[in-house]
Symmetry: C2
Subunit: 492 residues, 2 copies
């Protein structure tokens, strides 16, 4: 805990990896590419889950649970989806281990226990869910079907990083069915909006809503909506996606309904998801060289109180005052922890809470008792002030809002100052190299140009922003006509 | 929805299976032995989760998340545990599918993408967790380590039944580490108590706390505590277990700590879990031939209101009254749903809510409006009464408690009247056959006798009850000396 973090300027990537581990958020496991989410990291994820779950229910969705495994024959039913995920999926082939005759005390796969049909560990659940929906949907009365699932999924990524890209991750996946195309598109847009609202208001991360280009779309989708955020190193991060799936899965799994006119039609679908990847976005947006910085809306402990004392008598007196403060803060729905561990000195506690991003720290010593004051330290600005006990609760309550807003605005300023309009490819390359961020450029709309730009610069089209006018121009790469600017960036 | 259920008397097992599906709790999936938990069933599970999670946190536990996969070399490290689960585990052997050259449009496992080491899909997580704890525990200052995980697990059972025994199920698993043997035993007992409190107070199911016999213990445990419930057909159901693991996993994974005296020792462990199996216990304890009966503490909707009207004007008037009732009920923390669907008639709504076990149904018609009354129907007793609007809220509030208590007491009476003390093996067999339930009998303490009794009668030792005196006697089977009575039963 004591060693300092690598600074962002020294090595941003190393800073991130160290921070995740030292702040007790997550660590690598014995399973290639799979992480252990530690209690402190999981507590933040639980706060995200609780708020998202509330928002999903408020928009009419119910939770359910579908199997972890997808039989191969279902997995391959929607061709594009299968093609998109086949290259990176974990496959269960056997259902038993036995003692290894060649290796005493060891086990081996029992060759007799081979499955008739292989099972894919879900990389996403469209296939198993649409196969189920077939039995649930007969008539327009069964629609819309608005379901969400909290689950683990597995994608056998070759290069993994804690939270950002792991072989197993936690997520939620919404899967909805609708009578009409228009209704499904509205649903996909609504949920992309829910994500944007959550990420901006709770995570204090500004996002740009947009559409993916065809080559960046979800495999099996007709249109992918997304929210894109910008990290401190100038790289973009896709924070959530919401897909309009057309009738692709309904056709692959033959899910038809009788409409109000008594005619049969395939239903229209959406799916949408956010994952533990959001933890990565949270960390990289706000944190600094001292460690994690958490927005109050997601901090497991919004306030921590550290007593500074020499005698047991002093601790008793401090504790009495602290009990009053805690009661008053909790009455205001502010979460507070009294760090009265006797195993650590105040300095070590300060360092730990700084590293773990607790928004506000209150320190109380013997002199504070006399003066009826406390020392209040703010994590985001690393500033301290002395506050009278009288005004403490009101002050803390105000700071919860102020810090949340301040983090958002700081991130927004950074993001806005890192959207650069360029007019030609030289400018594109030099801005990307020297400044990073989003590059707003005209594009001719072809996959060939998109691929070429990616090949040369490693930048991809992050989105076709939903906001902003359609303005004619010239593609920065091909010089061909373009109808609009799109956002390019290097991305996580 | 309209067809009647098979009655319990006709075929208890069929009644159960039909009820689970018709009440929209769960259904079988395309994956052998894996279920889909439908939204209504999942909503009940969420209520269970929320309360258990609160109780775990109140007793000092934190949530975390560990990988789905266990590398074979870790899986086999604790021998007894490995032996116990090796016969029924799903094994991932490959990480990619490819186009099948012999079968156009189909996929097959890519033989080039074979894993160096097979991965077992966790049947339980001791192995992966204790391998992780090795890095987390150095000193007594790191203890106790009190962690819980909500997760899916897979056990390749050959004969499966919805909720009761499925290849994949949802559960929570607590995994704790302690300085001393005594502390670990206390933890195992505490958590068994937490389970008993939850199951009795929230699920309204009386349980007997006890210890498992050696042959019924968790694979790798030194002692298994359990809570045993009795279903309406006279069969027992193990509702939760809490294991004292001794130093078995600490030794298998070399997890040592420096104690207060500066000496190295292996830590002491517990693990404990309850699963979606509890849903099966809930259904089989309270439900009747009309369908599900839910205790108010776990009902997603505690009250449903059905309007009975002929004209839109009547519906408007009813809606106005209902809005007032809903506001008042919600102010009392009572969940209420207004079933104003225009697609279904009142009779169909009544049948559905009865089938789905909503504790109270309020019906309001035009005459009720005149009389300022409603019709209040109680699901558990299938009784109705007319209640004046004035006294409705108070009445409903009282009934929430009364129904909860009444369900528990009814189940308790049934359970208590189905514990029979027997003195010899003929009596044992005839009581088991004719009456079922728990049989309290002297046992000589040997595995041989336990096996023989199981072979002859299919009854197993459910537990050595924690309560009750130790009384010398004669084993019902072998005639050898016995120090105490134990409880036998046929079980789910």
């Amino acid at each position: 805990m004591s060693k300092k973090l690598t600074t962002r300027a020294e090595d941003y990537s190393k800073w991130y990896n160290e921070l995740v581990v030292k702040a007790d958020l997550a660590e690598n496991s014995a399973v290639r590419g799979c992480m252990v989410i530690k209690p402190y990291g999981y507590a933040i994820w639980e706060k995200m889950q609780a708020e998202l779950d509330r928002m999903f229910k408020e928009t009419g969705h119910q939770n359910a649970y579908f199997p972890l495994f997808v039989p191969k024959s279902l997995f391959e039913a929607e061709e594009k989806n299968a093609e998109g995920f086949a290259k990176e999926c974990a496959v269960v082939t056997h259902y038993r281990l036995q003692n290894d005759p060649d290796n005493e005390g060891k086990l081996r796969v029992d060759p007799e226990a081979k499955l008739e049909e292989e099972l894919v560990v879900r990389p996403t659940s469209e296939a198993i869910i649409w196969n189920t929906y077939k039995g649930w949907i007969q008539s327009y009365r069964d629609l819309p079907l608005l379901i969400n699932q909290w689950a683990n999924v597995v994608r056998w990524e070759m290069r993994t990083r804690l939270f950002l890209r792991t072989a197993e991750f936690l997520w939620q996946e919404g899967h909805t069915a609708h009578e009409t195309k228009a209704e499904a598109i509205t649903e996909a847009e609504t949920m992309n909006n829910v994500y944007a609202t959550f990420v901006e208001n709770f995570m204090a991360i500004p996002v740009i809503q947009g559409l993916k280009s065809e080559s960046e779309r979800f495999a099996g989708a007709d249109e992918t909506y997304c929210i894109e955020a910008l990290m401190q190193d100038g790289k973009a991060l896709q924070a959530g996606t919401s897909h309009f799936l057309g009738q692709n899965f309904a056709k692959a799994f033959d899910v038809k309904f009788t409409n109000k006119e008594g005619k049969q039609d395939h239903v229209w679908a959406t799916s949408w998801g956010v994952s533990t990847r959001l933890m990565g976005a949270l960390i990289m947006t706000h944190s600094d060289d001292q460690g994690l910085v958490l927005p109050p809306n997601l901090a497991p402990n919004q306030v921590v109180i550290v007593p500074i004392y020499k005698t047991d008598e002093q601790l008793d007196q401090i504790t009495e005052v602290v009990n009053g403060i805690m009661k008053d803060l909790r009455a205001k729905q502010i979460t507070v922890k009294f760090d009265n561990r006797t195993t650590h000195r105040p300095g070590a506690k300060f360092a730990q809470h700084e590293l773990q991003g607790v928004p506000l720290r209150i320190a109380i010593g013997a002199r504070d008792l006399e003066n009826e004051t406390v020392e209040l330290a703010r994590r985001d600005t690393l500033t301290k002030e002395t506050v009278s006990l009288d005004s403490l609760i009101e002050k803390v309550e105000g700071l919860m809002v102020e810090i949340q807003d301040s983090l958002f605005n700081k991130a927004l300023d950074f993001r806005n100052s890192h959207i650069t309009e360029v007019e030609n490819f030289d400018e594109f390359k030099s801005v990307l190299e020297e400044k990073g961020g989003f590059i707003s450029a005209h594009w001719d709309g072809t996959i060939e140009t998109e691929d070429k730009i990616k090949e040369i610069t490693k930048a991809t089209i992050r989105c076709l922003p939903l906001e902003g006018e359609m303005v004619d121009g010239i593609c920065v790469y091909s010089g061909k006509p373009s109808k609009r600017r799109v956002l390019f960036a290097k991305a996580y």
